[in-house]
């Protein structure tokens, strides 16, 4: 029985190895490095530095932008997901929603350099409308817009799945019992698809905290997020200590968010 059980469990090894090497070890290493300064001496200075207003302000604005991006993505994605479930050939349409995510994110961000540029399409339109050329690139607006654009498919997908799982007879029953379309939506459809909404918000909010390439390319370094700061410290100033400290903070924030939105659904499976 012993050897039998051992061979039976052999297939566990790669997965457990993955868990130890790529889940546990990185977290431990990040925490460990946050206690060392740029010269490799043990210090608590990184944490002292993190609690100064400069970093706090950055953290707050980072969260604020992530919140805005999540909110706008949800506002655009929910109706889109709902309408998608009503189309014929909905699997094909869903595939077409996912298709742009197969084009690398950087290419799409790069396109916006042209669209939002001083002589770009949007500015030509504004000119035609008599509003005149505006500075769009390198503003908060361009940052939020491009980020929302990037995340919409990731918001639509879980909501679409939740809507698909929704038993249509519940909606019919609600309508039969005389509920208005709005009541049916707010009391039946939305609560029952809340799992999808939460999954979508998680899929958007956390990556939105770490969008350093968009801030660099279309926000012109005006928007500095925690992600930008980590990238800066790890790859430019080579001060891994403070970078790791910010990363520790992000990991903690992420744990809190997961607690709040709750990854658990009844049945135990995410």
């Amino acid at each position: 029985m012993g050897t039998n059980a051992a061979t039976r469990s052999a297939y566990l090894i790669p997965y457990l190895l993955w868990m130890v090497l790529f889940v546990a070890a990185p977290i431990v290493l990040i925490a460990y490095y946050s206690f060392f300064d740029v010269d490799g001496n043990f210090t608590l200075g990184n944490y002292a530095k993190f609690f100064t207003p400069v970093y706090w302000r950055m953290a707050l604005s980072s969260f604020w932008y992530a919140l805005l991006i999540t909110l706008f993505s949800l506002l655009v994605a929910y109706p889109a997901a709902y309408l998608l479930t009503k189309t014929r050939h909905k699997q094909l349409w869903l595939l077409l929603i996912i298709l742009p995510t197969w084009i690398n994110l950087l290419l799409k961000v790069y396109a916006f350099l042209g669209i939002f540029g001083t002589y770009g399409t949007v500015n030509k339109l504004l000119e035609l409308l008599g509003i005149g050329t505006q500075q769009i690139l390198f503003t908060d607006f361009s940052f939020v817009f491009v980020s929302v654009y990037i995340f919409i498919p990731f918001m639509i997908l879980p909501i679409f799945n939740a809507l698909e799982e929704l038993n249509p007879s519940l909606v019919d029953a609600s309508r039969d019992l005389g509920a208005s379309a709005w009541t049916t939506f707010s009391r039946v459809i939305f609560p029952l698809t809340l799992g999808g909404v939460k999954a979508g918000c998680q899929a958007v909010f956390i990556p939105a905290l770490s969008l350093f390439m968009i801030t660099r390319l279309v926000a012109g370094n005006r928007v500095i997020t925690l992600g930008t700061a980590i990238e800066q410290h790890f790859l430019v100033t080579q001060d891994w200590g403070i970078g790791a400290t910010i990363a520790v903070f992000l990991i903690l924030a992420m744990a809190v968010i997961m607690r709040l939105t709750g990854l658990r659904k009844r049945g135990g499976i995410v």
Binding site: W18, P79, T101, F212, V270
Partner: protein, 270 residues
């Protein structure tokens, strides 16, 4: 009723237009003989010729594809093993812990993953380049595969396995002839999601590529920071057409498969 149908379709169309606008925008200007993305001077194919003459770029495209396919395949194998393992765990709290650990890399911000992997590879003495990028892509794809496969395992009735065992099937037979075929849709979904994540990743890769090795995203980032280059437009157009063909092909095959299954089923029924 009719007008509402129209309004809702308009909304969906608007979402599709916005999703595809940047991609079509890139494609449009890829034929521009002028050097910019705002003044269309004349039709030319020179940027496409440029792409095909740029061996460095072609090697990078190849790198990207190799990394994506290889990492998704390996992640699928590890992920399926992981899902089978988690599915087998009976104790609720253990299962919950495993699932939480599994999801760490999904919910972590990309920059944190990138930074922690950079520390890990540096300490382990792994040279930054192909190996580090491949390992990272496998690492962040594994949990997605697990999440795609687990629901299928849950759907599977345990009596199916019992029946197979009663009929004298070995564990290996049960796995390869009953379980794996049953969860095949989940495995494919996991593989394709892993592929998507790998092709789309920039942030993690950016941290773990050394000098001299690049994936497309990293290369585009460095080129886009230097300004507009229409060969990037040409390349992205080619990638887009290629992906579109793949998706449409996949859809057609799927539908034909479904239709075949349907006619077969109808033929069997009296």
């Amino acid at each position: 009723m009719k007008t509402r149908w129209k309004v809702s379709n308009l909304y969906l169309i608007a979402v599709f237009v916005i999703l595809y606008a940047p991609i079509l925008y890139l494609a449009y200007y890829s034929f521009n003989s002028g050097g910019s993305m705002h003044e269309f001077e004349g039709f030319t194919l020179e940027h496409y010729a440029e792409v095909f003459q740029d061996t460095r770029l072609l090697i990078i495209v190849l790198n990207t594809l190799v990394i994506a396919l290889l990492s998704s395949a390996l992640a699928t194998i590890i992920g399926v093993a992981g899902a089978l393992f988690i599915h087998r765990v009976r104790r609720h709290t253990t299962k919950q812990t495993l699932l939480t650990l599994n999801n760490v890399l999904i919910v972590s911000p990309d920059v944190v993953i990138g930074a922690s992997f950079l520390i890990l590879f540096t300490i382990a003495g792994i040279k930054l380049g192909f190996t580090s990028v491949l390992l990272s892509h496998i690492a962040f794809s594994v949990p997605i595969v697990v999440l795609m496969v687990l629901p299928k395992l849950q759907e599977m009735s345990p009596t199916l396995v019992d029946a197979a065992e009663d009929l004298g099937a070995t564990r290996w037979d049960v796995l390869t002839k009953v379980v794996l075929p049953f969860i095949r849709p989940g495995i494919f979904a996991g593989f394709f999601m892993a592929l998507t994540y790998s092709l789309d990743d920039f942030a993690v890769t950016f941290f773990v590529t050394g000098n001299g090795y690049a994936t497309l995203a990293v290369e585009i980032y460095s080129r886009a920071r230097q300004g507009v280059s229409l060969s990037i437009n040409a390349l992205s157009t080619l990638i887009f057409l290629f992906t579109l063909l793949l998706v449409l092909g996949y859809y057609a095959v799927n539908r034909r498969g479904a239709a075949k299954a349907k006619t077969l089923a109808e033929g069997v029924r009296p």
